[in-house]
């Protein structure tokens, strides 16, 4: 093998290695971005309010309707911080 050919092979190897490193860096950045996106999700969807009797939502003790209009989160049966770690 001539010296010129050997130098060309080494140069090609270096170019290939550089390209590979670049691709890995891009893949790594993408996976970090994916991980961030995967972790930054909104809180839990509220559970369904309870069933209502045949008296309907205007009954004086219709708790689901009261929960729907309440201005306090615990009365409204909203998720707590412990519902989704």
């Amino acid at each position: 093998m001539s010296r010129v050919l050997a130098l060309r092979l080494v140069a090609a190897g270096l170019v290939l290695a550089a390209l590979l490193c670049g691709r890995l860096a891009i893949a790594s950045a993408a996976s970090v971005g994916d991980a961030l996106t995967g972790g930054l999700v909104p809180s839990a969807v509220p559970g369904l309010l309870d069933p209502i009797t045949s008296a309907g939502r205007n009954g004086w003790d219709c708790k689901p309707e009261r929960a729907a209009e309440a201005d306090r989160w615990h009365t409204a049966h909203l998720p707590s911080a412990s519902d989704r770690s």
Binding site: G39, L48, S54, A70, A76, S85
Partner: protein
């Protein structure tokens, strides 16, 4: 002994009375079934009531209860249809709107969820459920501005609600307000120490600010706090390990 005298001998009136009795009895059976989580039995009772087409408020209420059974059976499309029918019969039915938004989110129908949430807010502007639900729909739909408004208003009446601070922080982060996001996340964590999602989000916000050491510490804390959520724990650990200090 006297024989009871019927109050009417009209066949239509007697039929209507019998139907009303059947509706009441099926409500009793259906609610008992839902209370013991027998969703199929509950659905059967409420489907029969709907077929009998009782007057209001029973018609909308039966559809509302039927939707609960169907949602628990995984029949979310049917549940959404019945909740929409309940609201059509009773346009001020807030509990039906609240449940329809949750069902729509489970179905991935953000467009309908948003339309219902807008209507819910218009009817009950101070409702915590309405503000939370629309804020959530807005966040999922990419409308961070509306999410910020709704969670901000929710916090005015509920300043100690850690989850609202967390969601407000997400909205601020998406609007590029990382300092405000950090402030809300620290408020959430002060109210609810060990809130792993908030700790993870804090790590992300700190990373965006270039504060790698603080970010790494936050991801490490999130990894420890997320022991009940292996998926989040894995992501937090990956983030922690990806930060070269």
């Amino acid at each position: 002994m006297q024989t009871p005298v019927p109050r009417t001998t009209s066949v239509p009136a007697l039929r209507a009375a019998a139907t009303a009795r059947e509706v009441e009895e099926r409500f009793t059976l259906g609610l008992a079934a839902l209370a013991r989580s027998d969703w199929s039995a509950g659905a059967a009772e409420f489907e029969r009531i709907v077929a009998l087409d009782p007057p209001e408020p029973k018609g909308s209420t039966a559809r509302y209860d039927l939707a609960i059974a169907q949602a628990n059976l995984g029949r979310n499309d049917d549940a959404a249809r019945n909740l929409r029918a309940a609201i059509a019969l009773d346009p001020g039915f807030l509990a039906a709107m609240a449940n329809l938004i949750s069902v729509d989110l489970a179905r991935g129908d953000l467009q309908d969820a948003r339309a219902v949430a807008d209507r819910f807010i218009a009817l009950a502007p101070d409702s915590a459920r309405a503000l939370y639900s629309r804020g959530l729909v807005a966040l999922q739909g990419g409308d961070a501005q509306t999410a910020r408004t709704d969670f901000g208003k929710l916090l005015q009446a509920n300043p100690a609600y850690a989850v609202a601070h967390y969601d407000l922080a997400l909205a601020e982060e998406r609007l590029g307000n990382v300092s405000a996001a950090e402030r809300e996340l620290r408020a959430a964590l002060a109210l609810s120490p060990g809130y792993a999602r908030a700790e993870f989000a804090l790590g992300a916000v700190l990373l965006r600010q270039g504060r790698k050491s603080d970010a790494r510490a936050a991801f490490a804390q999130a990894t420890r706090d997320a022991s009940a959520d292996p998926s989040l724990a894995n992501i937090a650990a990956a983030m922690r390990d990806s930060i070269a200090i």
